[in-house]
């Protein structure tokens, strides 16, 4: 089940939350766990056994490591085994193209699992005593499929005891509605634009259209992921949990360093705490720092995808980050203009590399982005006008909503009645788009 579907919004949410709220506090974890199982099984029932196995293995390893407090050597071995298990399962599904049946949420729950055993090993948290408690954390449906990657310590208290007030439910619903709007009204529309451009064939697009396409993927990926993260956070709030934020207006960043402190924060923090710092971070001299960065970024690239372009994407960021660390960032911080121009190129180009898996096609696209000869024949430029007619406003909205403006406005106005009205309209508009696409797939036979 996906969040932006009629069955989730109008069946799962009312039924599940009614049971959840009626249930006394003691039973809520169990209800949440049961609901999460239903949620998961709906989307991918065949993978459920292996995911349950992973959860059980992790719970067990956590307990074992916890209880072997004195014999530190053995503890390391158990940690090692746990990590090998999870990474092994991850690679098996990711690399093995024969098994294209990858369990839903694999990338996210694998990382959460590793963070759990690592944190127990480091003594940051105590292993969860009750299997129900641990499984509830593991399977919690808001964050299971696409994160945010939540450390156990962040919700441990809430797992044991949480109070849910109508105000919290209100807050959660509003955040959910905002996320839904971002996904359906912006991300999906930008996705359609990108699809249209692919249909034309990259060899035939003008330079402005190539840039419009790059902006489209940038907006699509952002609003899709941010939308989903907000929906997860909203649902978490309704359950009584405070899930971590994933994005902080990343497109307003002035450098790649800053960008990765604001984009998919739970992921970059994970890499920092569980790969970069254990390897020594930046504390072992310049050469080691650069090596550590390389490891992190190769892994980051591969976590996102297994084809060459993802590796290129990761390494590209590695190069820019290294340059920034050495001297570039100081130069960028000096002028605002330089920052904006720099990121104006880096962000769209990086997302193009991320989105095109075929090397030849990627090369063609990048060529189109820098082919100034397009402008010599004005007749060629009609194509960007054609697409701006249908998607221009949405793209503009997307760009405006990527700034710090919306969150400032929201913080100021969230208590107002008018805000609620606007969000309700947004909500129903999103539902409308979902319905017309779902109930009448032939309507969307827009050939």
């Amino acid at each position: 089940m996906i969040f932006n579907s009629i069955e989730f919004i109008f069946y799962f949410i009312p039924i599940f939350f009614s049971i959840y709220y009626i249930c006394p506090a003691k039973g809520r974890n169990f209800v949440l766990l049961a609901g999460s199982f239903v949620f998961y099984a709906w989307g991918d029932i065949y993978s459920l056994p292996i995911v349950v196995l992973s959860a059980f293995v992790n719970y067990s390893f956590g307990s074992i490591i916890e209880h072997r407090k004195e014999r530190s050597a053995m503890r390391k071995v158990w940690l090692f085994l746990a990590v090998i298990f999870h990474v092994g399962v991850f690679c098996m599904f990711r690399m093995g193209n024969i098994l294209s049946i990858m369990p839903l949420g694999l990338s996210f729950y694998t990382f959460q699992a590793i963070s759990y055993v690592a944190d127990v090993y480091l003594g940051k948290i105590h292993a969860e005593q009750s299997p129900i408690g641990y499984f509830t954390y593991f399977f919690m449906f808001p964050k299971f499929v696409s994160g945010p990657i939540t450390r156990y310590g962040e919700i441990q208290t809430a797992l044991e005891h949480r109070k849910i007030s109508p105000l919290q439910v209100e807050e959660g619903l509003k955040i959910f509605a905002i996320g839904l709007g971002g996904k359906v009204l912006i991300a999906d529309q930008m996705g359609k634009l990108w699809n249209a451009i692919q249909t034309v064939g990259f060899e035939s697009i003008s330079m402005p259209l190539a840039w419009l396409g790059a902006i489209a993927v940038s907006l699509q990926i952002y609003f899709d992921f941010q939308g989903y993260s907000l929906m997860a956070i909203g649902l978490g709030r309704m359950l009584g949990f405070k899930l971590p934020q994933n994005f902080r207006q990343p497109y307003t960043s002035g450098s790649v360093t800053e960008f990765w402190r604001n984009w998919h924060m739970t992921l970059s923090l994970w890499f920092r705490d569980y790969v970069y710092i254990p390897l020594g971070g930046s504390k072992k001299g310049v050469f080691r720092t650069i090596c550590n960065l390389l490891v992190v970024w190769v892994l980051t690239g591969l976590w996102h995808g297994t084809t060459g372009n993802f590796l290129l994407w990761g390494i590209g960021f590695f190069i820019l980050l290294t340059l920034e660390k050495l001297f570039l960032k100081k130069a960028l911080d000096a002028t605002i203009l330089l920052k904006r121009v720099y990121m104006f190129f880096v962000i769209p180009i990086s997302w193009i590399v991320f989105s095109i898996t075929d090397a030849g096609e990627l090369y063609t696209y990048l060529q189109r982005m820098f082919d100034v000869t397009s402008f010599y024949d004005m007749a060629n430029l009609w194509d960007v006008v054609y697409y701006l007619k249908d998607y221009g406003w949405t793209a503009l909205f997307g760009l405006v909503l990527s700034t710090t403006l919306p969150s400032k406005v929201y913080e100021k106005c969230k208590k107002h009645f008018v805000t609620a009205v606007i969000l309700i309209l947004l909500f129903w508009l999103s539902v409308y788009y979902i319905m017309s696409a779902e109930s009448n797939p032939f309507l969307y036979s827009h050939f």
């Binding site: 439910v169 209100e170 249909t199 009645f417 409308y432």
Partner: protein, 302 residues
């Protein structure tokens, strides 16, 4: 009351949901269109109708409606006449057969100066990338046969006024009318229903363009991946539809033209190399369709 102040969103959500669910189960809401405003208008319209019925007004058949019923009866007999012409054996790729006063040959740009292309997004592709600026195009993504009479897709050059294709054909005369349509309609209704409307449209075009030949283009096939994975939009159904369309050709003023041989692979599916989505030709391959049109111009020999 204080809940409205504390949790306005929640309250509004419950309240509006109740209304929406009631309307939905009352049959008022059917997202028939992807245009929100149209949908709202439809819904309000349905509600108004219902109110009128309930207030005891009898809905009399207006004169207009009665005339329309008489007209469609006449049309039914008219269609039977048109189908009296010789029909050739139906193969998968209908050969373009012409009667003595016409021949098939290579034509040049001038041939298309008085030609009009009517169709859906595939024809839009021909317009965008075929570089046939001398021809006229009445085409739009999502266009279907039902929109011929009421879909305002044609923009009048100077005034910016939007008119239907029917109206456009009333105002302008052409010598060749190309029509490629039928894939969007596969998602709803039946083949018979589609052919009924299609035949009506062809007849109307013939009335409006007495000096023109009408070239009914076969629906372009879809790619293998699409065809194999879709119950509705697949090449088996497209072939059936094309066979029905071919039956309308009289080879005197109405011709059937199949460009598929130029763009399909050995299995009869749209060549995967020529398309990204299996439905539309990539811009650089639209030339193939264009070349096929140029190679097979239908020319009067007399």
């Amino acid at each position: 009351m204080r809940y409205i102040k504390k949790c306005p969103f929640l309250i509004l959500l419950i309240w509006t949901s109740a209304i929406v669910v009631a309307l939905h189960y009352g049959g008022y809401m059917n997202p028939d269109t992807d245009n929100v405003l149209e949908f709202l208008r439809d819904t309000v319209g349905k509600m108004q109708e219902n109110v009128k019925e309930h207030s005891g007004q009898n809905i009399q058949l207006s004169e207009e409606t009665e005339n329309m019923l008489v007209e469609s009866e006449e049309e039914a007999t008219g269609i039977a006449d048109a189908q009296m012409q010789d029909e050739l054996p139906q193969e998968e790729y209908e050969e373009i057969v012409v009667k003595p006063q016409y021949e098939l040959r290579m034509v040049d740009d001038a041939y298309f100066e008085d030609a009009v292309f009517i169709g859906d997004s595939r024809t839009v592709g021909l317009y965008q990338y075929g570089n046939m600026t001398q021809a006229t195009f009445y085409a739009e993504t999502g266009y279907n046969i039902y929109k011929f009479f009421d879909g305002k897709i044609v923009t009048v050059p100077d005034s910016g006024e939007k008119i239907t294709v029917e109206e456009a054909l009333m105002r302008n005369q052409y010598k060749k009318v190309y029509l490629m349509i039928g894939i969007n309609e596969m998602g709803r209704g039946t083949l018979e229903g589609f052919m009924e409307e299609y035949t009506k449209v062809v007849k109307r075009i013939k009335e409006l363009q007495p000096d023109a030949i009408i070239i009914l283009e076969a629906i372009m096939k879809v790619g293998k991946e699409k065809s194999d994975s879709d119950d509705i939009f697949n090449n088996v159904n497209i072939t059936k539809r094309n066979a029905a369309i071919a039956e309308l050709a009289d080879n005197e003023s109405i011709f059937y033209f199949d460009m598929n041989p130029a763009v399909v692979d050995e299995d009869g599916n749209l060549n995967a190399e020529y398309s990204f989505d299996g439905i539309h030709l990539k811009a650089q391959y639209v030339q193939i369709w264009k070349d096929y049109l140029y190679a097979n111009g239908i020319v009067r020999t007399e």
